[in-house]
Protein backbone atom coordinates (compact mmCIF):
# COMPACT_ATOMS: atom_id res chain seq x y z
CA UNK A 1 0.00 0.00 0.00
CA UNK A 2 2.66 2.51 1.04
CA UNK A 3 4.76 1.57 -1.92
CA UNK A 4 1.85 2.60 -4.05
CA UNK A 5 1.31 5.80 -2.15
CA UNK A 6 4.96 6.65 -2.17
CA UNK A 7 5.30 6.19 -5.88
CA UNK A 8 2.18 8.27 -6.45
CA UNK A 9 3.55 11.00 -4.28
CA UNK A 10 6.84 10.88 -6.07
CA UNK A 11 5.04 11.24 -9.37
CA UNK A 12 3.06 14.13 -8.02
CA UNK A 13 6.18 15.85 -6.78
CA UNK A 14 7.83 15.55 -10.17
CA UNK A 15 4.69 16.98 -11.69
CA UNK A 16 4.80 19.85 -9.23
CA UNK A 17 8.43 20.61 -10.12
CA UNK A 18 7.55 20.46 -13.72
CA UNK A 19 4.68 22.91 -13.40
CA UNK A 20 6.51 25.33 -11.19
CA UNK A 21 9.37 25.33 -13.65
CA UNK A 22 6.85 26.04 -16.32
CA UNK A 23 5.33 28.79 -14.18
CA UNK A 24 8.68 30.57 -13.82
CA UNK A 25 9.36 30.36 -17.47
CA UNK A 26 6.08 31.98 -18.40
CA UNK A 27 7.20 35.26 -16.77
CA UNK A 28 4.81 38.13 -15.95
CA UNK A 29 3.71 39.32 -19.29
CA UNK A 30 1.84 36.63 -21.02
CA UNK A 31 -0.44 36.27 -23.94
CA UNK A 32 -4.12 35.44 -23.25
CA UNK A 33 -3.21 31.92 -24.23
CA UNK A 34 -0.56 31.66 -21.59
CA UNK A 35 -2.81 33.33 -18.98
CA UNK A 36 -5.45 30.74 -19.60
CA UNK A 37 -2.76 28.12 -19.36
CA UNK A 38 -1.57 29.66 -16.09
CA UNK A 39 -5.01 29.66 -14.46
CA UNK A 40 -5.40 26.05 -15.43
CA UNK A 41 -2.03 25.40 -13.89
CA UNK A 42 -3.06 27.19 -10.67
CA UNK A 43 -6.22 25.18 -10.48
CA UNK A 44 -4.26 22.00 -10.93
CA UNK A 45 -1.79 23.07 -8.26
CA UNK A 46 -4.68 23.77 -5.86
CA UNK A 47 -6.20 20.35 -6.50
CA UNK A 48 -2.81 18.80 -6.05
CA UNK A 49 -2.35 20.53 -2.66
CA UNK A 50 -5.78 19.31 -1.55
CA UNK A 51 -4.88 15.83 -2.60
CA UNK A 52 -1.63 16.09 -0.76
CA UNK A 53 -3.50 17.12 2.40
CA UNK A 54 -5.82 14.13 2.12
CA UNK A 55 -2.83 11.94 1.55
CA UNK A 56 -0.99 13.32 4.60
CA UNK A 57 -4.12 12.95 6.68
CA UNK A 58 -4.47 9.30 5.74
CA UNK A 59 -0.81 8.62 6.16
CA UNK A 60 -0.87 10.25 9.64
CA UNK A 61 -3.89 8.19 10.54
CA UNK A 62 -2.28 4.96 9.48
CA UNK A 63 1.07 5.73 11.05
CA UNK A 64 -0.24 7.06 14.36
CA UNK A 65 -3.01 4.69 15.36
CA UNK A 66 -2.02 2.38 18.18
CA UNK A 67 -3.09 -0.79 16.38
CA UNK A 68 -0.52 -2.53 14.24
CA UNK A 69 -1.24 -2.59 10.50
CA UNK A 70 0.40 -5.00 8.11
CA UNK A 71 -0.48 -5.45 4.46
CA UNK A 72 0.53 -8.35 2.27
CA UNK A 73 0.35 -9.02 -1.45
CA UNK A 74 -1.07 -12.11 -3.11
CA UNK A 75 2.26 -13.88 -2.61
CA UNK A 76 1.85 -13.45 1.17
CA UNK A 77 4.78 -11.02 1.24
CA UNK A 78 4.69 -7.99 3.47
CA UNK A 79 4.16 -4.79 1.50
CA UNK A 80 3.67 -2.38 4.36
CA UNK A 81 3.86 -2.15 8.14
CA UNK A 82 2.80 0.95 10.05
CA UNK A 83 4.85 2.51 12.81
CA UNK A 84 3.04 0.68 15.63
CA UNK A 85 3.64 -2.64 13.90
CA UNK A 86 7.31 -1.90 13.24
CA UNK A 87 7.79 -0.85 16.84
CA UNK A 88 6.17 -3.98 18.27
CA UNK A 89 8.16 -6.29 16.08
CA UNK A 90 11.39 -4.36 16.27
CA UNK A 91 11.81 -4.21 12.48
CA UNK A 92 13.05 -1.40 10.21
CA UNK A 93 10.68 -0.39 7.46
CA UNK A 94 12.94 -1.39 4.61
CA UNK A 95 13.80 -4.75 6.14
CA UNK A 96 10.19 -5.85 6.02
CA UNK A 97 9.58 -5.34 2.30
CA UNK A 98 8.95 -8.66 0.65
CA UNK A 99 9.38 -10.61 3.87
CA UNK A 100 6.94 -13.54 4.13
CA UNK A 101 4.13 -12.67 6.53
CA UNK A 102 4.46 -16.08 8.14
CA UNK A 103 7.68 -14.93 9.79
CA UNK A 104 5.59 -12.71 12.07
CA UNK A 105 3.83 -15.72 13.55
CA UNK A 106 5.31 -17.74 16.39
CA UNK A 107 3.77 -20.91 15.01
CA UNK A 108 4.61 -21.34 11.30
CA UNK A 109 2.01 -24.05 10.75
CA UNK A 110 -0.69 -21.83 12.10
CA UNK A 111 0.62 -19.04 9.90
CA UNK A 112 0.35 -21.25 6.81
CA UNK A 113 -3.26 -22.08 7.56
CA UNK A 114 -4.13 -18.44 8.19
CA UNK A 115 -2.47 -17.36 4.93
CA UNK A 116 -4.43 -20.06 3.16
CA UNK A 117 -7.69 -18.84 4.69
CA UNK A 118 -7.21 -15.18 3.85
CA UNK A 119 -5.47 -15.43 0.47
CA UNK A 120 -6.67 -18.63 -1.16
CA UNK A 121 -10.14 -18.94 0.32
CA UNK A 122 -10.37 -15.15 0.71
CA UNK A 123 -12.21 -15.60 3.96
CA UNK A 124 -11.75 -12.80 6.43
CA UNK A 125 -10.66 -13.47 9.98
CA UNK A 126 -12.10 -11.59 12.90
CA UNK A 127 -10.69 -11.15 16.42
CA UNK A 128 -8.53 -14.22 16.17
CA UNK A 129 -5.97 -14.78 18.90
CA UNK A 130 -2.50 -16.00 17.98
CA UNK A 131 1.08 -15.49 19.06
CA UNK A 132 3.40 -13.23 17.10
CA UNK A 133 7.15 -13.26 17.38
CA UNK A 134 9.39 -10.20 17.36
CA UNK A 135 12.64 -9.84 15.44
CA UNK A 136 14.53 -10.73 18.61
CA UNK A 137 12.43 -13.84 19.16
CA UNK A 138 10.07 -12.63 21.84
CA UNK A 139 6.64 -14.20 21.66
CA UNK A 140 3.55 -12.17 22.54
CA UNK A 141 -0.21 -12.73 22.24
CA UNK A 142 -2.24 -10.64 19.81
CA UNK A 143 -5.78 -10.40 18.59
CA UNK A 144 -6.16 -9.61 14.88
CA UNK A 145 -8.71 -8.96 12.18
CA UNK A 146 -8.15 -9.01 8.43
CA UNK A 147 -9.78 -7.36 5.43
CA UNK A 148 -9.27 -7.65 1.68
CA UNK A 149 -7.38 -4.96 -0.22
CA UNK A 150 -8.82 -4.23 -3.65
CA UNK A 151 -7.03 -2.72 -6.62
CA UNK A 152 -7.78 1.04 -6.87
CA UNK A 153 -9.61 0.39 -10.09
CA UNK A 154 -11.77 -2.63 -10.49
CA UNK A 155 -12.55 -5.28 -7.98
CA UNK A 156 -9.41 -7.32 -8.31
CA UNK A 157 -8.05 -8.43 -4.91
CA UNK A 158 -4.58 -7.00 -4.39
CA UNK A 159 -3.75 -8.31 -0.96
CA UNK A 160 -4.84 -8.49 2.64
CA UNK A 161 -4.71 -6.03 5.51
CA UNK A 162 -4.01 -7.30 9.03
CA UNK A 163 -4.98 -5.10 11.97
CA UNK A 164 -3.68 -6.38 15.29
CA UNK A 165 -3.41 -5.46 18.95
CA UNK A 166 -0.99 -6.73 21.56
CA UNK A 167 -3.15 -8.39 24.20
CA UNK A 168 -0.46 -9.35 26.72
CA UNK A 169 -2.19 -7.38 29.46
CA UNK A 170 -5.64 -8.82 28.89
CA UNK A 171 -4.13 -12.28 28.53
CA UNK A 172 -2.38 -11.97 31.86
CA UNK A 173 -5.59 -10.91 33.49
CA UNK A 174 -7.47 -13.76 31.91
CA UNK A 175 -4.86 -16.27 33.02
CA UNK A 176 -5.18 -14.96 36.52
CA UNK A 177 -8.93 -15.34 36.48
CA UNK A 178 -8.68 -18.84 35.02
CA UNK A 179 -6.18 -19.71 37.71
CA UNK A 180 -8.61 -18.55 40.39
CA UNK A 181 -11.40 -20.61 38.85
CA UNK A 182 -9.22 -23.66 38.74
CA UNK A 183 -8.30 -23.15 42.37
CA UNK A 184 -11.87 -22.61 43.42
CA UNK A 185 -13.02 -25.85 41.79
CA UNK A 186 -10.11 -27.77 43.17
CA UNK A 187 -10.74 -26.17 46.53
CA UNK A 188 -14.28 -27.39 46.70
CA UNK A 189 -13.27 -30.78 45.40
CA UNK A 190 -10.52 -31.34 47.90
CA UNK A 191 -12.65 -30.10 50.79
CA UNK A 192 -15.21 -32.72 49.86
CA UNK A 193 -12.62 -35.45 49.45
CA UNK A 194 -10.86 -34.53 52.67
CA UNK A 195 -14.16 -34.75 54.54
CA UNK A 196 -14.90 -38.15 53.05
CA UNK A 197 -11.47 -39.44 54.00
CA UNK A 198 -11.40 -38.05 57.50
CA UNK A 199 -14.57 -39.89 58.44
CA UNK A 200 -13.16 -43.38 57.87
CA UNK A 201 -9.87 -42.21 59.38
CA UNK A 202 -11.74 -41.21 62.51
CA UNK A 203 -13.39 -44.63 62.60
CA UNK A 204 -10.07 -46.44 62.23
CA UNK A 205 -8.42 -44.25 64.81
CA UNK A 206 -11.04 -44.67 67.52
CA UNK A 207 -11.23 -48.40 66.86
CA UNK A 208 -7.46 -48.70 67.12
CA UNK A 209 -7.42 -46.71 70.32
CA UNK A 210 -10.15 -48.82 71.90
CA UNK A 211 -8.16 -51.88 70.88
CA UNK A 212 -4.96 -50.40 72.29
CA UNK A 213 -6.67 -49.77 75.63
CA UNK A 214 -7.87 -53.34 75.82
CA UNK A 215 -4.32 -54.72 75.90
CA UNK A 216 -1.75 -54.16 78.57
CA UNK A 217 0.67 -51.40 77.51
CA UNK A 218 3.63 -53.71 76.87
CA UNK A 219 1.63 -56.11 74.72
CA UNK A 220 2.81 -56.19 71.10
CA UNK A 221 -0.83 -55.91 70.02
CA UNK A 222 -1.13 -52.64 71.90
CA UNK A 223 2.01 -51.44 70.14
CA UNK A 224 0.63 -52.41 66.75
CA UNK A 225 -2.60 -50.55 67.48
CA UNK A 226 -0.62 -47.51 68.53
CA UNK A 227 1.25 -47.60 65.22
CA UNK A 228 -2.05 -47.55 63.37
CA UNK A 229 -2.96 -44.44 65.31
CA UNK A 230 0.33 -42.76 64.47
CA UNK A 231 -0.03 -43.41 60.75
CA UNK A 232 -3.58 -42.09 60.84
CA UNK A 233 -2.33 -38.90 62.47
CA UNK A 234 0.24 -38.51 59.73
CA UNK A 235 -2.32 -38.86 56.96
CA UNK A 236 -4.59 -36.48 58.78
CA UNK A 237 -1.86 -33.85 58.92
CA UNK A 238 -1.57 -33.98 55.15
CA UNK A 239 -5.32 -33.71 54.78
CA UNK A 240 -5.31 -30.69 57.04
CA UNK A 241 -2.90 -28.96 54.68
CA UNK A 242 -5.28 -29.62 51.81
CA UNK A 243 -8.11 -28.32 53.91
CA UNK A 244 -6.37 -25.05 54.54
CA UNK A 245 -5.73 -24.79 50.88
CA UNK A 246 -9.29 -25.65 49.98
CA UNK A 247 -10.95 -23.37 52.45
CA UNK A 248 -8.43 -20.93 53.82
CA UNK A 249 -9.76 -19.39 57.00
CA UNK A 250 -11.25 -15.94 56.44
CA UNK A 251 -8.45 -13.38 56.58
CA UNK A 252 -8.13 -11.46 59.83
CA UNK A 253 -7.25 -8.15 58.23
CA UNK A 254 -5.68 -5.18 59.90
CA UNK A 255 -3.30 -2.35 58.98
CA UNK A 256 0.26 -3.54 58.52
CA UNK A 257 3.60 -2.37 57.27
CA UNK A 258 4.79 -4.52 54.41
CA UNK A 259 8.41 -3.91 55.44
CA UNK A 260 7.74 -5.25 58.91
CA UNK A 261 6.22 -8.42 57.49
CA UNK A 262 9.17 -8.85 55.10
CA UNK A 263 11.71 -8.28 57.86
CA UNK A 264 9.91 -10.75 60.09
CA UNK A 265 10.03 -13.51 57.50
CA UNK A 266 13.63 -12.66 56.66
CA UNK A 267 14.65 -13.16 60.30
CA UNK A 268 13.03 -16.57 60.17
CA UNK A 269 14.89 -17.49 56.99
CA UNK A 270 18.26 -15.84 57.67
CA UNK A 271 19.93 -18.98 59.09
CA UNK A 272 18.86 -21.00 56.08
CA UNK A 273 20.06 -18.33 53.63
CA UNK A 274 23.42 -18.35 55.34
CA UNK A 275 23.68 -22.10 55.31
CA UNK A 276 22.87 -22.20 51.59
CA UNK A 277 25.31 -19.43 50.76
CA UNK A 278 22.61 -17.02 49.70
CA UNK A 279 23.06 -13.29 50.12
CA UNK A 280 20.08 -11.11 50.87
CA UNK A 281 19.52 -7.57 49.62
CA UNK A 282 16.64 -5.31 50.37
CA UNK A 283 15.57 -2.06 48.79
CA UNK A 284 12.48 -0.68 50.47
CA UNK A 285 10.68 2.40 49.16
CA UNK A 286 10.35 5.21 51.66
CA UNK A 287 7.17 5.96 53.60
CA UNK A 288 4.91 3.43 51.92
CA UNK A 289 1.30 3.44 53.03
CA UNK A 290 0.13 0.54 55.16
CA UNK A 291 -1.86 -2.30 53.68
CA UNK A 292 -5.01 -3.88 55.05
CA UNK A 293 -4.20 -7.58 55.10
CA UNK A 294 -4.04 -10.72 57.21
CA UNK A 295 -0.47 -10.55 58.47
CA UNK A 296 0.04 -14.27 58.92
CA UNK A 297 -1.33 -15.04 55.48
CA UNK A 298 1.01 -12.57 53.79
CA UNK A 299 3.86 -13.97 55.87
CA UNK A 300 3.01 -17.40 54.58
CA UNK A 301 3.09 -16.14 50.98
CA UNK A 302 6.50 -14.53 51.43
CA UNK A 303 7.83 -17.57 53.22
CA UNK A 304 6.71 -19.77 50.31
CA UNK A 305 8.46 -17.46 47.84
CA UNK A 306 11.67 -17.44 49.90
CA UNK A 307 11.59 -21.23 50.24
CA UNK A 308 11.14 -21.62 46.49
CA UNK A 309 13.98 -19.19 45.81
CA UNK A 310 16.25 -21.19 48.12
CA UNK A 311 15.29 -24.40 46.33
CA UNK A 312 16.09 -22.78 42.98
CA UNK A 313 19.64 -21.94 44.10
CA UNK A 314 21.26 -25.15 45.33
CA UNK A 315 24.71 -23.63 44.78
CA UNK A 316 23.97 -20.32 46.42
CA UNK A 317 23.14 -16.96 44.90
CA UNK A 318 21.24 -13.92 45.95
CA UNK A 319 17.72 -12.85 46.80
CA UNK A 320 16.72 -9.22 46.38
CA UNK A 321 13.54 -7.86 47.81
CA UNK A 322 12.16 -4.56 46.61
CA UNK A 323 9.05 -2.61 47.53
CA UNK A 324 7.44 0.15 45.51
CA UNK A 325 4.23 2.10 45.25
CA UNK A 326 2.36 1.75 42.01
CA UNK A 327 -0.09 4.46 41.03
CA UNK A 328 -2.75 3.33 38.62
CA UNK A 329 -4.41 6.08 36.62
CA UNK A 330 -7.73 5.97 34.92
CA UNK A 331 -6.81 6.06 31.24
CA UNK A 332 -9.74 8.20 30.12
CA UNK A 333 -9.83 10.84 32.89
CA UNK A 334 -6.18 10.57 33.93
CA UNK A 335 -7.14 10.68 37.61
CA UNK A 336 -5.53 8.43 40.22
CA UNK A 337 -7.65 5.29 40.28
CA UNK A 338 -5.92 3.08 42.80
CA UNK A 339 -2.63 2.46 44.50
CA UNK A 340 -0.88 -0.83 44.96
CA UNK A 341 2.18 -1.86 46.86
CA UNK A 342 4.40 -4.07 44.77
CA UNK A 343 6.82 -6.41 46.47
CA UNK A 344 9.28 -8.08 44.10
CA UNK A 345 11.36 -11.02 45.17
CA UNK A 346 14.10 -11.78 42.69
CA UNK A 347 16.48 -14.72 42.84
CA UNK A 348 19.45 -15.79 40.75
CA UNK A 349 18.39 -19.41 40.53
CA UNK A 350 17.65 -21.80 37.71
CA UNK A 351 14.62 -19.89 36.47
CA UNK A 352 11.38 -21.16 34.98
CA UNK A 353 10.92 -22.32 31.36
CA UNK A 354 8.41 -20.07 29.53
CA UNK A 355 5.93 -22.90 28.97
CA UNK A 356 5.85 -23.61 32.73
CA UNK A 357 5.14 -20.06 33.78
CA UNK A 358 1.41 -20.59 34.16
CA UNK A 359 1.64 -24.20 35.31
CA UNK A 360 3.64 -23.45 38.45
CA UNK A 361 0.53 -21.90 39.99
CA UNK A 362 -1.43 -25.11 39.51
CA UNK A 363 -2.05 -27.12 42.63
CA UNK A 364 0.26 -30.16 42.80
CA UNK A 365 2.55 -28.92 40.04
CA UNK A 366 6.08 -29.51 41.23
CA UNK A 367 9.49 -30.14 39.69
CA UNK A 368 11.00 -31.20 42.99
CA UNK A 369 11.46 -34.71 44.36
CA UNK A 370 10.20 -33.72 47.77
CA UNK A 371 7.76 -31.01 46.68
CA UNK A 372 4.02 -31.18 47.08
CA UNK A 373 3.34 -28.39 44.60
CA UNK A 374 1.01 -26.44 46.83
CA UNK A 375 3.24 -23.49 47.79
CA UNK A 376 2.39 -21.19 44.91
CA UNK A 377 -1.22 -22.20 44.52
CA UNK A 378 -1.81 -21.57 48.22
CA UNK A 379 0.04 -18.26 47.94
CA UNK A 380 -1.97 -17.15 44.98
CA UNK A 381 -5.16 -18.07 46.79
CA UNK A 382 -4.18 -16.29 49.99
CA UNK A 383 -3.36 -13.15 48.02
CA UNK A 384 -6.71 -13.34 46.30
CA UNK A 385 -8.39 -13.52 49.72
CA UNK A 386 -6.57 -10.31 50.61
CA UNK A 387 -7.43 -8.51 47.40
CA UNK A 388 -3.94 -8.97 45.96
CA UNK A 389 -2.34 -10.92 43.15
CA UNK A 390 0.93 -12.48 42.05
CA UNK A 391 2.86 -12.59 38.77
CA UNK A 392 6.14 -14.09 37.67
CA UNK A 393 8.85 -13.24 35.18
CA UNK A 394 11.81 -15.41 34.52
CA UNK A 395 14.72 -16.02 32.25
CA UNK A 396 15.78 -19.62 32.17
CA UNK A 397 19.10 -20.10 33.90
CA UNK A 398 19.21 -16.52 35.16
CA UNK A 399 16.59 -16.45 37.87
CA UNK A 400 12.99 -15.66 38.63
CA UNK A 401 11.19 -12.54 39.78
CA UNK A 402 7.93 -12.93 41.65
CA UNK A 403 5.86 -9.77 42.14
CA UNK A 404 3.07 -9.56 44.62
CA UNK A 405 0.56 -6.74 44.47
CA UNK A 406 -1.31 -5.58 47.55
CA UNK A 407 -4.06 -2.99 47.31
CA UNK A 408 -3.83 0.19 49.33
CA UNK A 409 -7.41 0.57 50.43
CA UNK A 410 -8.64 3.83 51.81
CA UNK A 411 -12.30 3.01 52.22
CA UNK A 412 -11.94 0.95 55.40
CA UNK A 413 -10.24 3.74 57.35
Amino acid sequence: MSKQFDSKKEAALTLKKFYSALGNNTGNTGTPETIDYKSKYNLLLKRFRELEKVFDFHRGLIQNISSGLVTINMQAEITFMNRAALRTFGYEYLGTQGMPVSSLFADRNEAASIVDTVLKQQKMVESKEVHFITKSGEVFPVGFTTSLLKEPEGNQVAGVLFVFKDISDTTNLRHQIERMDRLATLGELSAGIAHEIRNPLAGIKSSAQVLEESFSPGDFRAQLASRIVKEIDRSNELLKRFFNFARPSKPLQDWHNVEMILDGVYLLMAPRFKKKNISFKKDFAESLPQVYVDESQIEQVILNLFLNAVDAMPDGGSISVKTALQNIHDASTDTLKEQKIVVTIADTGRGIPPEKKEKIFNPFYTSKNDGVGLGLSISSRLLEENGGSITVESELGKGAIFSIFLPVTKEIL
Binding site: R198, N199, A202, K205, S206, S207, V210, E213, K240, S249
Partner: protein, 121 residues
Protein backbone atom coordinates in the same frame (compact mmCIF):
# COMPACT_ATOMS: atom_id res chain seq x y z
CA UNK B 1 -29.50 -43.85 87.97
CA UNK B 2 -26.95 -44.18 85.17
CA UNK B 3 -26.46 -41.14 82.93
CA UNK B 4 -27.81 -41.63 79.41
CA UNK B 5 -25.58 -40.94 76.39
CA UNK B 6 -26.56 -41.03 72.71
CA UNK B 7 -23.99 -41.17 69.93
CA UNK B 8 -25.26 -40.20 66.45
CA UNK B 9 -23.29 -40.79 63.26
CA UNK B 10 -23.95 -42.44 59.92
CA UNK B 11 -20.41 -43.85 60.10
CA UNK B 12 -20.97 -47.14 61.83
CA UNK B 13 -17.32 -47.66 62.73
CA UNK B 14 -17.42 -44.49 64.76
CA UNK B 15 -20.58 -45.25 66.69
CA UNK B 16 -19.41 -48.82 67.26
CA UNK B 17 -15.94 -47.91 68.50
CA UNK B 18 -17.25 -45.16 70.76
CA UNK B 19 -19.88 -47.51 72.09
CA UNK B 20 -17.23 -50.16 72.86
CA UNK B 21 -15.05 -47.59 74.50
CA UNK B 22 -17.79 -46.37 76.86
CA UNK B 23 -19.22 -49.72 77.81
CA UNK B 24 -15.73 -50.95 78.72
CA UNK B 25 -14.92 -47.91 80.79
CA UNK B 26 -15.34 -47.86 84.55
CA UNK B 27 -17.98 -45.11 84.15
CA UNK B 28 -21.43 -46.53 84.37
CA UNK B 29 -23.16 -44.80 81.43
CA UNK B 30 -26.08 -46.08 79.50
CA UNK B 31 -24.87 -45.79 75.88
CA UNK B 32 -27.18 -45.78 72.87
CA UNK B 33 -26.24 -45.26 69.21
CA UNK B 34 -28.19 -43.96 66.21
CA UNK B 35 -27.29 -43.83 62.50
CA UNK B 36 -29.34 -40.75 61.60
CA UNK B 37 -30.88 -37.59 63.00
CA UNK B 38 -34.37 -39.04 62.61
CA UNK B 39 -33.46 -42.18 64.52
CA UNK B 40 -31.81 -40.11 67.25
CA UNK B 41 -34.93 -37.98 67.71
CA UNK B 42 -37.05 -41.12 67.97
CA UNK B 43 -34.81 -42.55 70.70
CA UNK B 44 -34.92 -39.24 72.54
CA UNK B 45 -38.73 -39.17 72.40
CA UNK B 46 -38.87 -42.64 73.93
CA UNK B 47 -36.59 -41.61 76.73
CA UNK B 48 -34.59 -38.36 76.77
CA UNK B 49 -30.78 -38.33 77.11
CA UNK B 50 -28.42 -36.37 79.32
CA UNK B 51 -25.98 -35.95 76.44
CA UNK B 52 -26.22 -36.33 72.66
CA UNK B 53 -23.04 -36.38 70.58
CA UNK B 54 -23.82 -35.90 66.91
CA UNK B 55 -22.03 -35.68 63.59
CA UNK B 56 -23.03 -32.82 61.28
CA UNK B 57 -23.09 -34.36 57.81
CA UNK B 58 -25.70 -37.09 57.70
CA UNK B 59 -28.22 -37.92 55.04
CA UNK B 60 -31.64 -36.49 55.87
CA UNK B 61 -31.73 -34.59 59.12
CA UNK B 62 -28.25 -33.23 59.80
CA UNK B 63 -26.57 -32.56 63.13
CA UNK B 64 -27.71 -28.94 63.29
CA UNK B 65 -31.32 -29.89 62.61
CA UNK B 66 -31.13 -32.53 65.28
CA UNK B 67 -29.72 -30.07 67.80
CA UNK B 68 -32.48 -27.56 67.03
CA UNK B 69 -35.17 -30.25 67.48
CA UNK B 70 -33.64 -31.38 70.76
CA UNK B 71 -33.49 -27.81 72.07
CA UNK B 72 -37.27 -27.72 71.63
CA UNK B 73 -38.25 -31.20 72.66
CA UNK B 74 -35.67 -32.01 75.32
CA UNK B 75 -34.10 -28.72 76.48
CA UNK B 76 -32.31 -30.43 79.38
CA UNK B 77 -30.20 -32.52 76.94
CA UNK B 78 -26.65 -31.31 76.30
CA UNK B 79 -25.33 -31.54 72.75
CA UNK B 80 -21.79 -32.01 71.44
CA UNK B 81 -21.15 -31.49 67.73
CA UNK B 82 -18.46 -33.52 66.00
CA UNK B 83 -17.36 -33.20 62.41
CA UNK B 84 -14.81 -34.26 59.84
CA UNK B 85 -14.78 -30.77 58.36
CA UNK B 86 -11.52 -29.08 59.19
CA UNK B 87 -10.40 -25.59 60.12
CA UNK B 88 -13.13 -25.10 62.73
CA UNK B 89 -15.44 -24.38 59.85
CA UNK B 90 -18.65 -24.99 61.76
CA UNK B 91 -17.40 -24.26 65.25
CA UNK B 92 -18.91 -20.80 65.63
CA UNK B 93 -22.25 -21.93 64.34
CA UNK B 94 -22.29 -25.00 66.59
CA UNK B 95 -21.52 -22.99 69.71
CA UNK B 96 -23.90 -20.15 68.90
CA UNK B 97 -26.74 -22.59 68.30
CA UNK B 98 -26.25 -24.04 71.74
CA UNK B 99 -23.73 -26.89 71.55
CA UNK B 100 -21.73 -27.48 74.75
CA UNK B 101 -18.56 -28.18 72.77
CA UNK B 102 -17.26 -29.01 69.36
CA UNK B 103 -14.78 -31.72 68.39
CA UNK B 104 -13.02 -32.45 65.13
CA UNK B 105 -12.68 -35.95 63.70
CA UNK B 106 -10.41 -37.82 63.97
CA UNK B 107 -10.04 -37.23 67.71
CA UNK B 108 -8.00 -38.65 70.55
CA UNK B 109 -10.08 -41.16 72.46
CA UNK B 110 -8.89 -39.94 75.86
CA UNK B 111 -9.83 -36.36 74.96
CA UNK B 112 -13.19 -37.50 73.77
CA UNK B 113 -13.84 -39.36 77.00
CA UNK B 114 -12.67 -36.47 79.13
CA UNK B 115 -15.07 -34.18 77.30
CA UNK B 116 -17.96 -36.52 78.08
CA UNK B 117 -16.96 -36.99 81.71
CA UNK B 118 -16.70 -33.21 82.14
CA UNK B 119 -20.34 -32.93 81.20
CA UNK B 120 -21.86 -36.08 82.68
CA UNK B 121 -19.61 -36.43 85.69
Amino acid sequence: MAKRLLIVDDEETITFSLYQSFIHSPKDYEVVTAASGEEALERSRENPFDLVITDIMMPGMDGFDLMAALKKEAPQTDVIIMTAYGSNMHKDRALSEGARTYIEKPFEMHEFKKMVIDILG
